[in-house]
């Protein structure tokens, strides 16, 4: 799609960034001590901390990724909402209070509180870094995709900008400024998502496409004079090229009829044409359409929550699934054709469009994904460190409940925003991630500007939290504890700041390298790695008194390596490498079902072998 920079958007965006940076400098003076830098001095109010949890947790993957997936794949996107939220139950009931009781700045502290073991310090720090980096990549990629429609700048500039702003936030005031950025963003995200959802329900559903939406024309084959006719072996469809006034466009042959499709052509001369014309001509349009409403209606008008769902269940929707892109080579030109697919609403409103559960491996992948989402949240280092910013266990528990309520409310809204984007024809056919901000654009350009600025802030908030977690792992766990580098409190803060800058720069580079990748893609995997590496140790340390230091260190190592190993050799990753999916070493795309139990087993076996080490240690449960 062609995006034009919007002055209101730029103004709102700049005001927001200016405010955030001003706040960071204001709080910088509070971050002189290590406790101030890494844990905001442990005196953040539970309510602020709870909303900051939401701001930390509701990353680009939630706002952009889930809404985008619901918009293109229906219910399957909502599975992430359910799983991400359910994970908080594990956080609240199992880990919140013990984590608070046992740790100081990082989750390694809590794991190591009983043992003071070099092995745990090293493995937990490496796993924190690995999970944080895995999580950082999609955030940076998301920032890049946002910058293009918001400011009209190329994607890499978005990545560099986010990187620079976040490094400033973290390096000036550490956890304090990070907390307030997250609080602000979490609050704004929830308020404006509510507004957007109300607008979707108020507008209701209609079969009339908006003028900005692509509404395919049809014509009889007999009336056409094709310039080319090509069968695509992969999709089994036949496409016809027609030319008029020097502009060529593409149609799908359906029996005796032709149906228009949208095309992106990279010509042999290096030019890119959208529906046969240069980008500036704005011929390429957004997609998504209600083909048929129940009982022959044309328009529903404002509807209630349940009526909205029930109406979509009874409708037929025109979608453009990512897998339905035909790629043709025509006389040196490379043509991509986006093919529509009409799907029954009742099929879109249940799981199954993305995660097929018909065969054994599909069932296994589904269970594995839901397992990783459930157990991943309570194992994410950047979430765990937020327990150290509040003064008491009671405050830790209360802030977790505020987090669950606000995040849960937001996740219910993802349904309306996703389905709204699907039915209002706002989806960018080439990038589903932009569905939620573009939905706002269908209502008002100002709302779009605000939502985009919030989405950008979403990335800022989450990336800041991740960088604080990673810098804590380097300065506190690795340098101070593992390597025993003798540091004063102030030197420790300095080491943390330098680590934050280095991690930030690495994140910028990775964000540019992984451009164009789906933002939900890696986040699900980051959860799987976190759940496999960290959760078994946390649970067993708390509930099994025979757990030993070696057991924990081995469990983290094996969990992390096995999860990463399965991911790197999975069919989805083969597709990323440009290889044939079917030649992958195994059929598992989601590692959790193997790597989580494996990590538990390793912990138990190694602990039983090394029981002697525990003699004389105090039970911390």
């Amino acid at each position: 799609m062609n995006y034009i920079a919007n002055p209101i958007a730029i103004a709102i965006f700049l005001a927001f960034v200016g405010f955030v940076l001003g706040m960071s400098f204001y709080y910088a003076r509070k971050a002189k001590s290590a406790s101030g830098y890494f844990a905001a001095g442990g005196n953040i109010h539970w309510f602020v901390n709870g909303i900051a949890f939401a701001g930390d947790y509701l990353s680009a993957a939630s706002f952009l990724g889930i809404c985008g997936m619901i918009a293109t794949m229906g219910y399957d996107g909502f599975l992430y909402s359910i799983g991400y939220l359910a994970g908080w139950i594990v956080a609240l009931f199992v880990v919140a209070e013990p984590m608070k009781r046992l740790g100081k700045y990082t989750f390694t502290d809590a794991l190591d509180s009983k043992f003071n073991s070099k092995g745990i310090q090293l493995m937990a720090a490496i796993s924190t870094l690995a999970v944080s980096l895995f999580y950082l990549i999609p955030q940076m990629v998301g920032a890049g995709s946002l910058i293009t429609p918001l400011l009209g700048l190329p994607q890499w500039m978005g990545v560099v900008m986010v990187g620079a702003i976040v490094i400033t936030i973290v390096a000036t005031a550490g956890m304090t400024s990070t907390t307030y950025v997250q609080f602000l963003k979490g609050g704004l995200l929830i308020i404006f998502s509510t507004l957007l959802s109300v607008a979707v329900l108020h507008r209701g559903l209609s079969t009339e496409p908006r003028p900005e939406t692509f509404s395919p024309q049809t014509m009889a084959m007999a009336d056409a004079t094709p310039a080319a006719e090509i069968s695509d072996g992969k999709s089994g469809l036949t496409f016809v090229k027609l030319e008029a006034d020097g502009i060529s466009n593409w149609w799908i042959k359906r029996g005796d009829m032709l149906e228009e499709v949208q095309s992106v052509t990279k010509t042999a001369g290096g030019e890119t044409l959208y529906n046969g014309a240069p980008k500036g001509d704005n011929k390429f349009k957004s997609v998504g359409l209600v083909a048929k409403l129940p009982d022959g209606q044309v328009k529903t008008g404002p509807v209630g929550v349940f009526k909205y769902f029930a109406t979509i269940q009874g409708s037929e929707i025109v979608r453009y699934p990512a897998g339905k892109v035909a790629k043709l080579e025509v006389g040196g030109d490379h043509v991509e054709l986006y093919c529509p697919e009409t799907t029954k609403g009742e099929d879109l409103m249940v799981p199954g469009q993305k995660f097929k559960t018909k065969d054994g491996i599909g069932k296994l992948n589904f269970i594995s994904l839901m397992l990783a989402l459930f157990f991943g949240t309570a194992s994410l280092p950047h979430i765990l460190i937020r327990y150290y910013t509040v003064p008491s266990q009671r405050a830790a528990r209360k802030s977790t409940i505020v987090a669950i309520a606000s995040i849960g409310f937001f996740y219910v809204l993802t349904l309306f925003m996703g389905l709204g984007a699907m039915t209002l024809g706002v989806i960018d056919v080439a990038d589903g991630n932009m569905s939620a901000p573009l939905l706002a654009k269908a209502f008002s350009p100002v709302l779009f500007a605000i939502i985009s600025a919030i989405a950008f802030a979403t990335v800022l908030g989450t990336v800041s939290g991740l960088i604080v977690a990673a810098s804590g792992a380097v300065a506190h766990d690795l340098m101070d504890n593992y390597m025993n580098v003798s540091m004063t409190d102030q030197q420790k803060v300095k080491a943390g700041k330098i680590a934050a800058v280095v991690v930030g720069v690495i994140a910028i580079i990775l964000g540019i390298l992984f451009q164009g990748m789906n933002v939900s893609f890696l986040v699900g995997w980051a959860f799987a790695v976190a759940a496999s590496a960290n959760l078994p140790s946390i649970i067993m340390l708390l509930f099994w008194k025979n757990t030993t230091a070696k057991g924990i260190a081995w469990s983290i190592g094996v969990g992390m390596v096995s999860a990463l190993g399965i991911i790197l050799t999975s069919p989805d990753m083969y597709a990323q490498y440009g290889l044939d999916k079917t030649t992958a070493l195994h059929g598992l795309n989601q590692p959790g079902i193997v790597s989580i139990p494996l990590s538990f087993i390793v912990l138990v076996v190694v602990s039983l072998i090394t029981q002697k080490e525990n003699e004389g240690l105090q039970d911390i449960r």
Binding site: Y75, F78, L79, E97, M370, Y388, R394
Partner: protein, 94 residues
């Protein structure tokens, strides 16, 4: 190297009681969550069944899982706060 908490945490006599309750509630939620996963995997057609005001089981079950987490969290907090006040002589500072 010491790993003591960033803020001084007072001794809490109710922590064992709270941990036991937490685990029970965790298993309760876990069972309901697994029920959802089970239906989605082994009886996907059931998910299409309308259950409330024409809305299907998938949507209702999904939203119910979210709402139930919030309700369970609020209940847990209420019970825990009460127990803390009972078991700890001096109220923990907030």
């Amino acid at each position: 190297m010491l790993h003591g908490p960033a803020a001084k945490v007072e001794k809490d006599n109710s922590s064992v009681w709270k941990a036991k309750l937490g685990i029970k509630l965790f298993w309760l939620y876990c069972a309901i969550y697994m029920g959802f996963v089970g239906i989605a995997v082994f009886a996907p057609e059931t998910m299409k069944m309308p259950v409330l005001a024409g809305t299907n089981l998938a949507i209702i079950y999904g939203i119910a899982l979210i709402v139930f987490a919030i309700v369970l969290g609020l209940l847990y907090n209420r019970v825990c706060t009460k127990k803390e006040d009972e078991m700890n002589p001096k109220k923990e500072a907030e």
